[in-house]
C-alpha cells in the first residue's frame, strides 16, 4: 500500500488561474459547501498573471454603439463560425457583469474621463472593448480574485500537481496527485471536479506560456474518457520577442498595436495593408491616416490592418520573414516610437500605456521602445481546443467532470480574439463553479477505488526505479519537433512525420528516469508532465492532419484555402477502448434563427 493523505471536498477545482479561482469562489458561495483549490504553483502565480491587453466586455463606455450582439458577432467571425454559439452568446452577454464584479472586489481598471472603466481597441473587436490596467490586466485580475478568494473559506493546496482523475463507474469522484515540496501523495475525494489547468504551450519550442502549461487538464480529461474538441486550432500570437535567443517567445502585447504600433519589414514597408481577408474588407482603414484616427478614438474611422485577427497577422509576418524581408533575427519590426510624429509627449505616453513592454525590452533586450522599433515574430500562445463541454453548465462528456478557461474548448472556434480569454475565464469559471456545486449537492456518496490509487502511485514512482535517459532531453526533442512540424505552417508530410516522431517519443518517455528523492525534484516533475505533453501533441497533430483546409489558427500549406467541406464540423478526440486515440467529425452546434439575425445585422 502506498502512503497518502486523503482530503475530502464537495467541489475540487484543479488550477488556480482566473477560471479556477472564479470557479472556486462561485462554488464556495453556496452555504455549507466545501471547496478545494489545487494550484500547480504558488497562489497567484498562474499563467493568467501574464495576460496583458485586457478583458473584452461590451460595456459601451467608450463607444456607445457597442453591445453584446456586436461582441457575439465579432467572436463568431473571429472563430470562423466553428465556435459553440451557445457559449459565444453567454460570453458576450455576461462579460460586462463579470468585469463590474471584479471592480466590486477591488480591481482598479484604467478610467474614462467620466470616471468609468476605460476600454481599448483590440484585434477583431469592432469597438473599443477591452477593460484594462495598462498592460498588466492579467495581474490585476488574478490578484483581485486571489485577495477576494482567500476570504471565502476555500481550502488552497499550493504547489500540488494532479496526475490522475479517480472514477467510480462513469463518474469522476476525485483526483490523485503529489505535493511538490515533500513529494507526498494526496487523494482528493470530491463530488464534482472542475478542470481549469490552462493550455498546452510547453509542447512547442517558441511559446509565451509558462512552465505549467503542459496540457494537464486536457490529458486528465482524455484519460478519464472525456472528449476533446478543436485541438487542431492553436493560436500563434503574431508578436513575441525574437531576440536575444533566451527571451524568444515572450509575449509583446497586442496593446502595442492597439495604441498605434505599426508592423514594418526590413525595407521599412508597412506590409499589413497588402493583404486584407474578405471577411474584414469593409472594416479596415484605407490608409495609415485613417488607421491612426481609429486608434485615437475617431468613431468614423476603420481599424488599421495591424488590428486584424491574430491568425492572419501571424501568417503575414511569417510570409515577410520567409520572403527574406524580415529583421536580422528572423522577425519583423513593431514600431510604436513613430507616434512621436503625432503626439508631443509620445515618450511619456508610451511608458504610461505600455509600462511592462517598456521594461521588458529595456531590461531583456536593451531596446528603448520609445525610440527604437521592436523585433517581433509569432509565438505559440493559446489553444482554442480543449475539453468538450456543455455550453451552459461546462460539464464535460464525463459525469461530474467540468472544465473552464483555456482547457475547455468551444467558445473560440478556429481562432480566439485577443481579450476574449480573460472574459472567458470569468464567465465560464463562474458557470463551472455554479454548476459543479449544483451537481455536487445532488450526488450520493461515492467510493474511491483503492486499486486506481495504487496504480496512480505506482506510475508516479516509476521514474525512480528505471534507468533510462534524462526527461529534459525528451521534452526538448518534443518541443523542437512540434515547432517544426505542427507549427504555424503545416503540411501532410510534416504532420505524418510528427506522428511517427511522437510514437518514438512515447517509447522514450516511458523509459525516462530520475535520481534523487521526492522532495522538490523538478526532474521527477518533468517525467510526470511528459505523458500529458505527448497526449496533447498527438491530439493536435491528428486533428491538424484531418482538417484539409486552412481556417483560423490552422494553416495548411497544402490546402491554403477555406473549404466548405470542413465548415460544418468540429474535430473530436476520444480515447478508444483499446487505448488508442480516436478521431471523429461531429457537426457544429447550429446557430438559432435569432443568432443568425444578429450575425447578419453585424456583417
Amino acid at each position: 500500500m502506498s502512503d497518502y493523505q486523503t482530503h475530502e471536498h464537495d467541489v475540487l477545482v484543479i488550477g488556480a488561474g482566473g477560471a479556477g479561482l472564479r470557479a472556486a469562489i462561485e462554488a464556495a458561495s453556496v452555504k455549507g459547501l466545501s471547496v478545494g483549490l489545487v494550484c500547480k504553483s504558488l497562489l497567484g502565480k498562474a499563467h493568467t498573471v501574464m495576460a496583458e491587453g485586457g478583458m473584452a466586455a461590451a460595456m459601451a463606455h467608450v463607444d456607445d454603439r457597442d453591445n453584446w450582439m456586436v461582441h457575439f458577432a465579432d467572436t463568431m467571425r473571429g472563430g470562423q463560425y466553428l465556435n459553440n454559439p451557445v457559449m459565444a452568446e453567454l460570453h458576450a452577454k455576461e462579460a460586462p457583469d463579470r468585469v463590474r464584479e471584479l471592480e466590486a472586489w477591488g480591481a482598479l481598471f484604467d478610467r474614462t474621463r467620466d470616471g468609468r472603466i476605460l476600454q481599448r481597441n483590440f484585434g477583431g473587436h469592432r469597438y473599443p472593448r477591452l477593460a484594462h490596467v495598462g498592460d498588466r490586466t492579467g495581474l490585476e485580475m488574478i490578484r483581485t480574485l486571489q485577495d477576494h478568494g482567500i476570504h471565502q473559506g476555500i481550502e488552497v493546496y499550493m504547489e500540488h500537481t494532479v496526475t490522475t482523475l479517480l472514477k467510480d463507474g462513469d463518474r469522476v469522484v476525485g483526483a490523485f496527485g503529489y505535493d511538490r515540496e515533500r513529494g507526498r501523495f494526496r487523494v482528493f475525494k470530491a463530488k464534482a471536479v472542475v478542470l481549469a489547468t490552462g493550455g498546452i504551450g510547453r509542447a512547442f519550442k517558441i511559446t509565451s506560456n509558462s512552465w505549467e502549461y503542459t496540457g494537464d487538464g486536457h490529458a486528465l480529461a482524455y484519460d478519464a474518457g472525456a472528449d476533446l474538441i478543436d485541438m487542431e486550432f492553436v493560436q500563434f500570437h503574431p508578436t513575441g520577442m525574437v531576440w536575444p535567443p533566451s527571451v524568444r517567445g515572450i509575449l509583446v502585447t497586442e496593446g502595442v498595436r492597439g495604441e498605434g504600433g505599426r508592423l514594418v519589414n526590413k525595407d521599412g514597408k508597412r506590409f499589413m495593408f497588402d493583404d486584407v481577408p474578405d471577411l474584414y474588407k469593409n472594416q479596415v482603414a484605407k490608409d495609415a491616416e485613417e488607421g491612426w484616427r481609429y486608434v485615437t478614438g475617431d468613431k468614423n474611422a476603420n481599424r488599421p490592418p495591424e488590428l486584424l485577427t491574430r491568425d492572419h497577422v501571424a501568417r503575414c509576418i511569417n510570409r515577410e520573414v520567409k520572403a527574406g524581408r524580415g529583421s536580422p533575427h528572423g522577425g519583423v519590426y513593431l514600431d510604436i516610437a513613430w507616434i512621436k510624429e503625432k503626439l508631443p509627449n509620445a515618450q511619456e505616453h508610451i511608458k504610461k500605456k505600455l509600462p511592462s513592454m517598456y521594461h521588458q525590452f529595456k531590461e531583456l533586450a536593451g531596446v528603448d521602445i520609445t525610440t527604437t522599433p521592436m523585433e517581433v515574430g509569432p509565438t505559440t500562445h493559446y489553444v482554442m481546443g480543449g475539453v468538450r463541454v456543455d455550453g451552459v453548465t461546462q460539464m464535460s462528456t464525463v459525469p461530474g467532470l467540468f472544465a473552464a478557461g483555456e482547457c475547455a474548448g468551444g467558445l473560440h472556434g478556429a481562432n480566439r480574439l485577443g481579450g476574449n480569454s480573460l472574459s472567458d475565464l470569468l464567465v465560464f469559471g463562474k458557470r463551472a463553479g455554479e454548476h459543479a456545486a449544483k451537481w455536487a449537492q445532488a450526488q450520493k456518496p461515492s467510493n474511491i477505488n483503492a486499486a486506481q490509487v495504487e496504480l496512480a502511485a505506482k506510475q508516479a514512482l516509476a521514474p525512480f526505479e528505471r534507468s533510462g535517459e534524462n526527461p529534459y532531453q525528451v521534452q526538448l526533442t518534443l518541443q523542437d519537433m512540434m515547432q517544426d512540424k505542427v507549427g504555424i505552417v503545416r503540411t501532410e508530410n510534416d504532420m505524418a512525420a510528427a506522428l511517427d516522431g511522437l510514437a518514438a517519443l512515447k517509447k522514450r518517455a516511458a523509459a525516462v528516469s530520475i535520481d534523487g528523492n521526492r522532495e522538490y525534484n523538478p526532474g521527477w516533475h518533468t517525467c510526470l508532465d511528459l505523458p500529458n505533453l505527448l497526449c496533447v501533441s498527438e491530439a493536435v497533430a491528428r486533428c491538424a492532419l484531418d482538417r484539409r483546409e486552412s481556417r483560423g489558427g490552422h494553416f495548411r500549406e497544402d490546402y491554403p484555402d477555406k473549404s466548405k467541406d470542413f465548415a460544418g464540423h468540429n474535430t473530436v478526440i476520444r480515447k478508444a477502448p483499446d487505448g488508442s486515440m480516436k478521431l471523429l467529425r461531429e457537426p457544429i452546434v447550429p446557430l438559432t434563427d435569432e443568432q443568425k439575425k444578429v450575425i447578419d445585422a453585424n456583417k
Binding site: 502565480k45 501574464m50 477591488g106 495581474l139 533566451s246 515572450i250 521588458q360 533586450a365 521527477w524
Partner: protein
C-alpha cells in the same frame, strides 16, 4: 562559446553546500536560463521555483552575487563572469531545498489583513465613478508581483526574524493599496500598528531598492501609513483632546 561558473547553494538542512556548475553562455542569457541549462545538462534534480520567465509572476526570487533578484530578469552581461556567480535562496524564509524556500508565511500574513470593503455604489446601475488621478497611486502598489524580495532584504525579517510581529514591506504595500483605494471603507490602522508592527520599519529603503516593479515602497506606501499611525496614536494634541472629551 564562452563558459561561466555558477556557485549554487544545493541540498537541504545542515547538508546544504555551495556547488560549482559550469555552463555555456550565449547572448542575452539571464541567470534563470543558466539554471535551466544546468538542470538539463548535469543536475536534473536542482530545485528552483519559476513560472513565467518574463518578470511577471515573481516566482524565481533568489540572491545573485548576494543581491536579491529575479533570476529571469538578471542578465548575465550585467555580471562579472570572470569569477563564479553565486546563486542562493532567499534568506528571510525557511529553506526547503537548493534554491527553494518556504514562503507560505507571506500568504498567512496577507490573510490576517482585513479585505477590501467598498462603499455603496455611486450610480443606480450598481457601479462606481473614480477619476484616473485618484487611482494612479494605488495602481502603483497593485503592480506588486509578490516576489517577496522586499521581505527578503528587510533587516527586520532577515536579521531580526520578527516574523510573528512584523508584516514586512510587501504587506505594507498591500495595506496601503487597500487604505488608499478610493472605494474602500475599512480601517486597518490598529492592525498595522499592533499585529503589523509597522513601527519596526526604520525606513532604510532597502525594499524600494530591490523592487523589480520599481514600486516606491518606502516613500509612497510605508511612510504615509506610519504618519497615519502617528497621527492616530501618538499625536500629543489629539491625546490631550481625548483625555478631555473622553473619546
Amino acid at each position: 562559446m564562452p563558459q561561466a561558473t555558477f556557485r549554487i547553494w544545493t541540498g537541504a538542512g545542515d547538508d546544504a553546500v555551495f556547488k560549482d556548475f559550469a555552463t555555456d553562455v550565449s547572448e542575452g542569457m539571464v541567470v534563470l536560463d543558466a539554471i535551466h541549462q544546468i538542470q538539463a545538462e548535469s543536475a536534473p534534480t536542482l530545485a528552483c521555483r519559476w513560472n513565467c520567465k518574463a518578470g511577471k509572476c515573481g516566482s524565481c526570487s533568489a540572491e545573485v552575487n548576494g543581491k536579491p533578484r529575479l533570476m529571469c530578469m538578471t542578465r548575465l552581461d550585467t555580471l562579472d563572469l570572470s569569477v563564479p556567480v553565486t546563486v542562493e535562496p532567499m534568506k528571510s524564509f525557511p529553506h526547503v531545498r537548493d534554491l527553494v524556500t518556504d514562503v507560505s508565511w507571506n500568504f498567512r500574513v496577507k490573510k490576517s489583513i482585513k479585505p477590501f470593503k467598498p462603499r455603496k455604489p455611486d450610480a443606480p446601475d450598481g457601479t462606481w465613478r473614480m477619476q484616473q488621478a485618484d487611482v494612479d497611486r494605488v495602481q502603483e502598489f497593485r503592480k506588486c508581483i509578490e516576489c517577496f524580495l522586499c521581505q527578503d532584504v528587510c533587516h527586520v525579517l532577515r536579521d531580526h526574524h520578527k516574523h510573528p510581529e512584523f508584516a514586512g514591506p510587501r504587506h505594507f504595500v498591500y495595506t496601503a493599496a487597500l487604505e488608499m483605494h478610493p472605494l474602500d471603507t475599512e480601517d486597518r490602522l490598529s492592525h498595522m500598528k499592533n499585529e503589523g508592527g509597522i513601527g519596526y520599519c526604520n525606513i532604510t529603503k532597502c525594499c524600494t531598492k530591490v523592487c523589480p516593479e520599481h514600486i516606491t515602497i518606502t516613500d509612497n506606501a510605508i511612510i504615509p501609513l506610519k504618519e497615519r499611525v502617528v497621527d492616530e496614536y501618538y499625536d500629543p494634541l489629539t491625546r490631550l483632546f481625548k483625555v478631555f472629551t473622553g473619546k
